[in-house]
Amino acid sequence: MALASVERPAGRTAAAHPRRTAAVRPARPRILLTTEGTYPYAMGGVSSWCDLLVQNLTDFDWQILPIIAPHGRPPTYELPPHAREVGRIELWSEALPEGGWPRPAERKAGTEIPGVLVRNLIGWHGDNESVLNALIWCRRFPVGVRRIFRSRRGWASFLDGLQAVLAERVAEAGSPPEVDLVEAATLYQTLYWVARTAAAPTPPTDVLHVTAAGWAIIPALVHKALHGTPIVLTEHGVYVREAYLAAARSGASPGSRFFATRLARGLARSAYSYADVVSPVTDANAYWEEGLGIDPDKIHVLYNGLSQPPTPSPPPGTLTVVSVGRIDPLKDVHTMLRVAEETLRYVPNAQFLHYGPVTDGEEAYGSSCLTLHEQLGLGDRFRFMGRTSDPNGVVRDADVVLMTSISEGLPMSILEAMGQGRPVVSTGVGGVPDVVKGCGVVTRPGDAHGLAMAVTTLLRNPTLGWKLGQRGHGRLGRIFNESACVEGYRELLFSAATVAVETAAMPARMAA
């Protein structure tokens, strides 16, 4: 592959271990936080977590690099003085890349980039090194990216690569679908944006903190390859798993599903390969990450946490069930509605309040929830309350907190419920069983009957609910507290920054 000739400082990919003793520490390490559709532009669990770190870790200079779809909205979160946005990668925008234009020989190598990306990001046995070299080329010659993807040769190289991927026969990978040219062109456009994301400049920094093993890893991969800066990857959910779930629920064509999931897998594979530390927020994610091939030595679980709230007050006794979360297929709001319908048969005076907006792009799912709400005849007994700015307050007004997700990392809404001393009824996904242990009820995902029985039991037996709530409050203080979370990241990031300084101080030859 012609791109293999791209020069970069080999061997400067120091593997940081979080527990390593810091020999040299930069006074104020710079942390480049790359986000994908979250902080600081959208509300949600990942954004809350980002804000927690950025607000509390004042001994770092935070550089925020969000990857978003252009929407023209101002940031949702206000950054503190020690944090600033260092650019914004707007996918599917019309903005043109700025920077270098390749010489003829380099241009020739560049024409292969669409083919290299499709073979190695979409192919089952893709080569991470080839992906990285292609992305480095894009960073070196940003102007060339658009030219190449708009060229006849770029398209031809892509079609060759795609035919090779579709001809793959790997037993565990199943049979690729017979995609059509519309789907092929859609993938081509997506890969163009992968290349454009790689082409975006990144500022000098000491540590790359990546918040998802997807698009957010792309600028970090290139930066690490060029400067040897260590990567810390935090996964709230497991990116690949969530991509598969979203694709399965989307109703999209087999080809669209195939490309969406394979791209997520390709990006995550690169992320896992080049990250120095992977810090999932729950052990459940760590099992997935191990299963997907991460070296277990790289994994360092850091639980999410909440600040220890004051002693909780008893539940209000109003038979109120509260749920907090986006209206999204991953939250399985349909099951929540069915739980309400069944619970109301036994506790007719109960009321269900759901707080959270419809996820951007999931408006059809939002409509389907309203339709089901009507079909089930829930009326005022189940109300969609929209966005809330006071999640603790709404949870405090609950007798039971309900969650029906089919995918979670370590959900903040459950921690908030525990913080307010409220019992939790939830599906046992991601890190939920580990968190809710002894302070709530966990059922299988989609088990509307089991969830309804648990909610009914707790509504009818408020003493039990209050006892579980108090245990949750105690457990939160012991294990999932905010200061432990913040201190864990402080240590991890300082440790990574120290490794970066040590590596940078090495003579180039030694480093190589």
Binding site: R150, D180, L181, E183
Partner: protein, 439 residues
């Protein structure tokens, strides 16, 4: 909840029940088992792998989702309003020339036409041709205000009265484009008809022109302010919009550079524009379907057929259909115009000028197609060829019949742009991937 293992048969049934189909690969099987059967990740991955190894899955055909066509409601009303506006404005030349002198009006029009076309192309590329483009424009009230003042002030300072006429006409026409985009076509047409009536009734033509320009500017201010939303798509790329503006200005220069067409001799030259303008409206509307016809032509087509010749027929039919509509309607309306003028005993600019305007309309259609898919260099080349051809005719004093400059220039533009447009349409897969969807 106790995590548990499932037999392969049970696991497969759970997956197929939840997905409604066989799993795509071992990861999908594992994700389904974890999400809906409560299986632990490592067990789910192992089971998923075993299931896929044991299965022989056929390749599934897949058809991509097609983009939805834009709704084109109210098009007939807009077209009718547009024709009324063109006819009304055509009637302004005579009263203006009577009041201000033919030279003043001619110079004013020679500046106003290219300037208006430049601004219209620029506005369309940066704002009006985009979702929530009016809202973006509404967020820039100072740009609109200063732009309006500059449009009248600068030409007035440089050219005197003819500059003022050019500025006022440009404000009126460009503002009209914004009002039509806001779907206020009927109100705009009514205002223009009212102004025409006032001019023909003997009111000061310059005062009426100033009044309609001010009214249009105020209406634009209201129109864009009422479109402002909190968030929206960003405006189009400035560089691309400027290129579009240059192309528009170039087409305007092509229109006014022919010395044999005198724009100040009354309504005739402007009325002669009507057949080609109306025809290009129809042709352009038809051509715009190409952005949906191309993906439709590729839907369900396997990727190894990307270069199959037959794929190009549907988009080519759209292109040829647009060209045919433009040519036929121009010919038909021109004939009606000539017959009408002859019946009324009026002098006309002759068949050759109508042919020239028709060719300019055809060139504009093709150039706008190339510009819209990001092939601006081809579009610019076409316009430059047109200007060069017309300049050659003008400098060589070749004058066998009226409109010869228009015919030569526009023909050159068509000769450059048409092969590029045909080439694009005949390779729909590449055009979709490399031009339409990568802007």
């Amino acid at each position: 909840m106790t995590p548990h293992k499932l037999s392969p048969v049970h696991a497969r049934r759970v997956i197929e029940a939840r997905l409604g189909r066989e799993p795509q690969d071992m990861l999908e099987a594992a994700v389904a088992l974890e999400a809906w059967a409560g299986m632990r990740a490592l067990d789910a991955l192992g089971t998923g792998r075993d299931l896929m190894r044991a299965s022989r899955r056929e390749r599934q055909p897949s058809i991509g989702k097609l983009p939805l066509p834009d709704a084109q409601e109210g098009l007939a009303v807009e077209a009718a309003a547009f024709v009324v506006v063109v006819i009304s404005i055509a009637c302004w030349a005579a009263p203006l020339a009577t009041t201000l002198g033919a030279g003043v009006v001619e110079h004013g029009l020679i500046l106003a036409l290219p300037l208006t076309l430049a601004l219209q192309w620029w506005l369309r590329s940066r704002y009006l041709g985009r979702p929530k483009g009016l809202a973006q424009l509404g967020r820039r009230p100072w740009m609109l205000l200063l732009g309006t003042i500059a449009l009248v002030g600068i030409p007035s300072a440089l050219m005197g009265l003819s500059g003022t006429v050019a500025g006022l006409l440009t404000v009126t026409w460009t503002g009209g484009t914004i009002l039509i985009r806001r779907r206020w076509s009927l109100a705009y047409a009514a205002a223009v008809v009212l102004a025409t009536t006032a001019m023909l009734a003997g009111l000061s033509a310059l005062a009426v022109l100033a009044a309609i320009a001010v009214a249009t500017a105020l209406a634009v201010a209201v129109a864009v302010r009422s479109s402002v939303t909190l968030a929206g798509h960003p405006p189009g790329r400035m560089g691309r919009a400027v290129t579009a503006g240059i192309i528009g200005a170039g087409m305007g220069v092509v229109l006014v550079a022919d010395r044999s067409v005198d724009w100040s001799v009354g309504a005739v030259p402007a009325i002669a524009l009507i057949p080609s303008t109306v025809a290009s409206f129809w042709g352009g509307y038809h051509l715009w379907q190409f952005q949906y016809v191309i993906p439709k032509a590729l839907s369900g087509v396997a990727i190894f057929n990307a270069n199959h010749r037959g794929l190009g027929w549907p988009p080519l039919r759209i292109l040829l259909g647009a060209v045919g509509r433009l040519v036929l309607l121009t010919a038909l309306l021109s004939a009606v115009l000539l017959l009408g003028a002859s019946a009324l005993g009026m002098a006309t600019s002759g068949v050759s000028v109508l042919v020239g305007f028709g060719l300019v309309a055809l060139a504009t259609l093709l150039v706008s197609l190339l510009e819209s898919v990001g092939r601006a260099s081809w579009a610019l080349l076409s316009v430059l060829c047109a200007i060069a051809g017309e300049a050659y005719v003008r400098m060589s004093d070749i004058d066998p019949f009226p409109g010869v400059g228009l015919i030569v220039g526009a023909s050159l533009a068509v000769l450059v742009a048409l092969p590029a447009a045909i080439g694009m349409m005949s390779r729909p897969a590449r055009t979709l991937a490399t031009a339409l969807w990568i802007s």
